[in-house]
């Protein structure tokens, strides 16, 4: 029987190195043990949904970039899918492939950050993050070559892509994809068998299968709990049905599984990229000429994709004008982070940090 003490409150965040943005955890501690966690969000509430109502369909795209800014092109894709569904626009073949290529690149980019930051939270003094960021830089280089920005690309448009990729793009992408498995292998060597890392993550922060389904978790968090759910397979959007890939799942649902699912997902992404490079038509238009100020018919549409963090949905209501009547965003991070409290109670502060890190949230998406 431990000595009875009064639990005390500790604010982790909003400005705290491990909160990946401005997230606040009001933790109730007894010694170092967590009695209660209260996630407080809203420190990055920027009113994106409201702003979207004042902008035209095209002008919303830069806003969606700023949701999940780690993998911003996936947001564009989800939004564009929803609007294309609303307006009944068919996307050209080459654009579909480009979309696949970029969303898989974004998945890689996101997982590099997710794993790197997670290891940083485990206390690995930035080295894994730095190695992974090197790869992320390569992806960023590719994107910059295509659309001139390094982070918030504003590249997809309703009806395709804003412009075709430059000629240098394909060779560079090929080289990148060819080298990628080697680097992923290196990261596995760096950390996967590290005893300290295993001791820190195995069995920590278990999210049971049932609970994961109940809270509506998605993405790697859900799959690590052993649920084989991937929208790319279950409801293939775009042209994902043309590719052959596996959906890695974990079995326990602890932090290690979440890490390891992400690791294996990266290999699958590389596989998809390889196939896409092989199949992409060499020529062709990339944009179904949609005017910048276009008016989709009144109605509503829901587009969802398997974003790197999970199921990202956009619900767009149009009233026939140039601006959407309502845009609702269904972010995966928000659903996933609700599991935090159940996972963390009874663990220590250090565990809370890595559990939070293993969920991989982005605050732009949670607070919107």
């Amino acid at each position: 029987m431990p000595i009875k003490t009064e639990p005390f409150y500790l604010n982790l965040g909003p400005q705290h190195p491990s909160t990946h943005g401005v997230f606040r955890l009001r933790v109730q501690l007894d010694g170092e043990v967590i009695v209660d966690v209260e996630p407080i969000i809203g420190y990055l509430h920027r009113g994106i949904e409201k702003l979207a109502e004042t902008r035209t369909y095209t002008q919303v795209i830069p806003l969606t970039d700023r949701l999940d800014y780690v993998a911003s092109m996936t947001n564009n894709l989800a939004y564009c899918l929803a609007v294309e569904k609303l307006a009944g626009i068919k996307v050209p073949e080459r654009a579909e492939y480009l979309r696949i290529i970029f969303s898989e690149l974004m998945r890689l980019a996101n997982h590099f950050l997710a794993i790197g930051a997670f290891l940083n939270d485990c206390g690995a003094l930035a080295t894994p993050l730095i190695y992974m960021w090197r790869e992320r830089e390569k992806i960023v280089d590719l994107c910059e070559m295509t659309c001139g920005q390094r982070l918030l690309f504003n590249y997809m448009r309703v009806g395709g892509m804003s412009q075709d990729v430059p000629v240098e793009f394909m060779p560079a992408l090929k080289k990148f994809v060819a080298e990628m498995p080697k680097f992923i292998g290196e990261y596995e060597q760096l950390i996967k068998q590290n005893e300290i890392f295993l001791a820190r993550t195995k069995g920590v922060g278990i999210l049971p299968r049932e609970m994961a389904i109940d809270i509506g978790a998605s993405g790697p968090v859900l799959r690590a709990s052993g649920v084989n759910w991937d929208i790319r397979k279950k409801d293939p959007y775009s042209i994902y049905d043309r590719f052959d890939f596996e959906v890695p799942t974990g079995d326990v649902g602890d932090c290690y599984d979440r890490f390891w699912v992400r690791m294996r997902e990266m290999r699958q992404s590389v596989r998809i990229l390889e196939q896409a490079i092989g199949q992409i038509p060499a020529k062709g238009t990339v944009w179904a000429d949609v005017p910048q100020f276009f008016r989709p018919p009144a109605g509503e549409a829901y587009g969802h994709i398997e974003a790197p963090k999970g199921n990202l949905g956009f619900y767009v209501v149009g009233d026939g004008s140039i601006a959407p009547y309502r845009v609702h965003i269904f972010p995966p991070s928000l659903m996933n982070v609700t599991a935090l409290r159940d996972m963390a109670i009874g663990w220590k502060v250090a565990d809370l940090i890595i559990i939070f890190g293993s969920i991989d949230v982005v605050l732009g998406e949670i607070d919107r």
């Binding site: 705290h16 990055l44 009113g47 830069p62 730095i130 090197r134 390094r150 605050l363």
Partner: protein, 201 residues
């Protein structure tokens, strides 16, 4: 416009106090705080006696700035890009990232500051030890950026604290930020030479 808060004992009290102070902060920040830039355009007038000391002081201050990463949103990603291997901020002696405001010298505000966050931002700024500088990185920090019209976003951090360097961009490229930091270095040199007290509102 300094925020002093009473002691709180329960989370409920803390929330109530926070809400009240956010409202008063919004009410207080209707106009921008003037930029601390008096000496920028003037030629440095070197006082004969103080030159050497000042040079040394400025050298020390300029060469080892401990940044306090205040990464709230997308711009934070570029801050990471800048500090990892490709652009390696540590070349300027800035690799000692301190997360405690007591030890940091420059607050790089990277990202959107909402009103809810502004309170914490201002508090951390207050808690930093002098001499301190603020770099507003990205459109959001400078002016609210694309979210300026939004009800919840601060229209520029220069409403709540004086800003030394503005780095436009959304997000600025890492080089742009390093350029901004170099500008800050130059400012520190000039500022120290001109006015070692660097008194700020």
């Amino acid at each position: 416009m300094e925020i002093v808060r009473p002691e709180v004992n329960t989370p409920q009290e803390a929330d109530a106090v926070e809400g009240a102070y956010i409202n008063s902060l919004i009410a207080d920040s209707t106009s921008a705080i003037p930029d601390p830039d008096r000496w920028i355009d003037e030629a440095v007038h070197r006082n004969v006696f103080l030159t050497t000391t000042d040079t040394i002081l400025a050298w020390g201050r300029q060469r080892s700035i401990f940044p306090m990463l205040f990464a709230t949103a997308c711009c934070g990603m570029e801050v990471i890009s800048m500090s990892v291997s490709r652009f390696d901020l540590s070349r300027f002696g800035m690799d000692v990232v301190r997360f405690s405001p007591r030890q940091a010298d420059v607050m790089i505000i990277a990202g959107t500051i909402t009103w809810k966050m502004a309170l914490a931002t201002r508090m951390i700024y207050d808690q930093m030890a002098e001499p301190k500088w603020v770099v507003a990185m990205g459109a959001c920090a400078i002016s609210g950026g694309t979210f300026r019209e939004s009800y919840s976003v601060t229209p520029g951090v220069n409403r709540i604290m004086p800003v030394d360097v503005y780095i436009p961009g959304c997000p600025p490229k890492p080089e742009a930020v390093i350029f901004g930091i170099n500008r800050l270095h130059a400012k520190i040199i000039k500022g120290t030479m001109d006015d070692p007290m660097l008194s700020k509102p």
